[in-house]
Assembly symmetry: C2
């Protein structure tokens, strides 16, 4: 257990905030609801950025940048959109010392201003599809905030695409949902359930919203990325039209999709424990830390060159490695420090290791002796990358086993209530908002999604008993 970190079992929410701050991922800003992303947290975000960005580019998308400020009148063009976002807006009313004629909204999301630009850029079917992504900050005024999970300002990417046909827009929507799933599972080592949002949970202005839902360490759900088929809603509101192959003017079909710094919170909560963070190797800013161990100056003179040699070998092997040669801290203190910061692999080098021309690898995800192996120096450039692959898989497997352990298939409402006390309930649902609402009032569990992958068959709604053709995931959520 780490100093200054509340145990998960005592208060999960305080554990989370303690870890985020002690590991120096983020800090509270002097502005209500805002955060400062510290260098270690930002390095993690940079790795998330790169892993997503390369996937966007591989699927044909380009990046661009649209303005921070949106005229208030733009939001009002899409009725559902303005209703959904109005309570969360930050509004600029003064610019250059003068009151503005029309107030400017600080973007909560950019469908409107991007829609306005697409209307100017798109003339014909030859201009389609438009596949653009933006990396940006957005602002949603929040009453109750938590570092990374819900902050007034956050960083994200928002993809915005325009297509000729409804089918292409739907394909794009699902393609990007699968890109998010691939990223979450293979980079963040977080198993997710891709699914459709119910009407009550969808994005304000979307035709259909999709989500990837993950189970956190306290068995609550976290919406970790969303992909929206916007139909022609924004195309009609902003006159995004094109001349089709028959020279007739048609409205485009558009999509939008986003992942935010919230993903950092998911990584903390899925993999962390009472010792602190446990980062998936593929995203970890530091994948391996070398801690030299010596009691005397003489020992230090033996150990340090060996540690430096290992550092160079691993750097050459493409490992993001750090050598912690600080003299003002004990090895034990350093072990705790790097465990807190979630470094996947620790490499210990003491006098006996030097004598044996070997080093100790200690896995962050397996405590004590069981997580340790001795490796000859000559094999480190093979064994360390191998260990990182093993740890990446082990983190995913553990998270998946945990989710499966706490996912239930209740056959009646009594079982359902027990299920959502423990984690996820995958239950038949008739599709009625009334059942969703009643369940929420009753149990605080919300409809997280209707999974794309269904068990099959038909059944009876777990709440009302009416015929149901789909199962939904219900859970208490962030």
């Amino acid at each position: 257990m780490a100093e200054g970190v509340t145990p998960q079992s005592e208060d999960y929410s305080r554990w989370y905030t303690d870890v985020v701050q002690k590991a120096e991922l983020a800090d509270y800003a002097p502005v209500k609801g805002c955060m400062v992303i510290r260098p270690y947290g930002y390095a993690l975000w940079e790795n998330i950025h790169d892993a997503l960005d390369s996937r966007f580019k591989a699927t044909g998308h380009e990046n661009a940048y649209f303005p921070l400020f949106i005229p208030m009148s733009f939001l009002q063009k899409e009725a559902e959109h303005v209703e959904g976002f109005s309570p969360e807006l930050a509004v600029v009313t003064i610019g250059g010392g003068e009151k503005l004629e029309e107030p400017l909204v600080v973007r909560p999301t950019s469908e409107t201003v991007i829609g306005h630009m697409y209307a100017q850029w798109i003339k014909s079917y030859r201009d389609l599809p438009v596949l653009i992504n933006q990396w940006a900050n957005v602002v949603r005024w929040e009453m109750r905030t938590r570092l990374f999970l819900r902050t007034t300002e956050f960083l994200w990417q928002e993809g915005h695409t325009a297509h000729e046909t409804a089918e292409e827009a739907q394909e794009e929507t699902i393609r990007m949902l699968r890109v998010y799933q691939d990223f979450a599972e293979n980079e963040a080592a977080i198993p997710v359930i891709p699914g459709r949002k119910s009407a009550s949970e969808k994005f304000a202005g979307a035709a259909t919203s999709y989500t990837i839902e993950a189970m956190m360490g306290d068995r609550r759900a976290l919406q970790s990325g969303t992909s929206h088929n916007l139909g022609q809603n924004f195309a009609k509101a902003f006159e995004i039209r094109y001349l089709d192959r028959n020279n007739e003017l048609q409205y485009c079909w558009t999509t939008s999709w986003g992942v935010s710094t919230r993903m950092v919170g998911a990584i903390v909560m899925v993999h962390g424990d009472d010792k602190g963070l446990a980062l998936p190797p593929r995203l970890a800013p530091i994948q391996a830390v070398i801690v030299p161990i010596s009691k005397t100056d003489e020992e230090r003179e033996q150990v340090l060159p060996a540690a430096e040699d290992i550092f160079k070998r691993l750097q050459a092997a493409g490992v993001r490695v750090k050598l912690d040669a600080r003299t003002e801290f004990t090895p034990g203190w350093k072990f705790n420090e790097w465990e807190m910061r979630g470094v996947p692999l620790r490499i210990e080098v003491g006098p006996r290791d030097v004598a044996n021309q070997s080093a100790v690898l200690a896995r962050r995800d397996i405590p004590g002796r069981e997580g340790k192996t001795f490796v000859p120096w000559a094999e480190l450039d093979i064994k360390v990358p191998e260990a990182l692959v093993t740890i990446q898989k082990a983190l995913f497997d553990r998270a998946l086993a945990f989710r499966e352990e706490h996912t239930h298939r209740p056959e009646n409402y009594e079982q359902f209530k027990e299920a959502v006390e423990d984690g996820f309930a995958l239950a038949w649902w008739c599709g009625d908002l009334a059942c969703e609402d009643a369940i929420k009032t009753d149990t605080k569990a919300t409809n997280r999604c209707i999974p794309l992958e269904q068990d099959g068959g038909t059944g009876k709604c777990v709440y009302c008993g009416k015929d149901a053709s789909e199962k939904a995931i219900f859970a208490r959520a962030y």
Copy 2:
């Protein structure tokens, strides 16, 4: 001359705006003074980002992210700072539907909020130096705006460092100025003059400001990056203190430095011509474009596979290459298009080239036959990268020769006035604000900087005739 582009000689300012829009670097946003950075412009910015970011990391800096909103009271803590920035602020007065108790400023720069955080993070000399950079958007309300050069919102990086001693802060300030010079000259192919700003031109709140100044195609100066030694001004305003090696509380010494999307404007104006952009190969999103040339379907069937083969070879050689196989446009139309977009090298493949197993390389920077060479296919993966290096150097050399041609060393005020009509005047200056002001009123030329590299010796102020120990660059500027 390119269609829809005003010639430089007719109206340089319109030429600039035409090129930026026709080449699809940027577009006007629906919000006054804001711009949309289009995918091609953003890809250029991404390359600028990467070239700077790797230099920052190589000099020990880490990235972080601080909030967009700054309490108004923070700006007021540094008297010069608030005076300098007050007229340019965008102010949020409404959040979540309610009037805010304290208005929030949309950051025009982040010294204040970062200073506030540093005061909390820095305890002892062991915590120093703090070397942090931020990539962010900032807002300065501007009355007269121009795409990239002066926009209400722009993208930039801002480095913020804290040090134990005045000497270290000064070293850092100059180190980053030299990093900017290295970037400008070796990546953007823009020769710059690194120098000190006069008191009247320095950053609001700095002890001393440094700049890199470049000459644009219309012989006006553009401040292209700045590095500020902030002394203890912000440390005192925000109580950024540390326990020194004698256990005594001391104020830190801080710096800040920034380069913005304005650099894109510099690249347009330094290298562009009446045909459009001319991008330096190291930053160009597309370094080489392959244009297959065929008149009949039969020819196309020969030419296209060859073009595809060349594309693969060059991609494997690490060239950012594009194959323009569109059938709806003629080769001539494509030549103009890619010249407009400033692609450094065009590769033409026609039926005769296929027969000869060769291709034509055409340089963007040298028009007509002189810029063309025939290269056997087997040598393309060597010759194309070589040509890119040659073009990079040629662009720099041409810009340097142009600047030298239009830089004068006037010995009296009559010569001075002629000099600033033509370009830069490097002249003795006594250091008095009065002379600067009189020169500005008289000639519209401002003191751009006192170059770090001086001619040596002493002389008489070009305006008042008093003793002067330094020369300054005077020019009309953006």
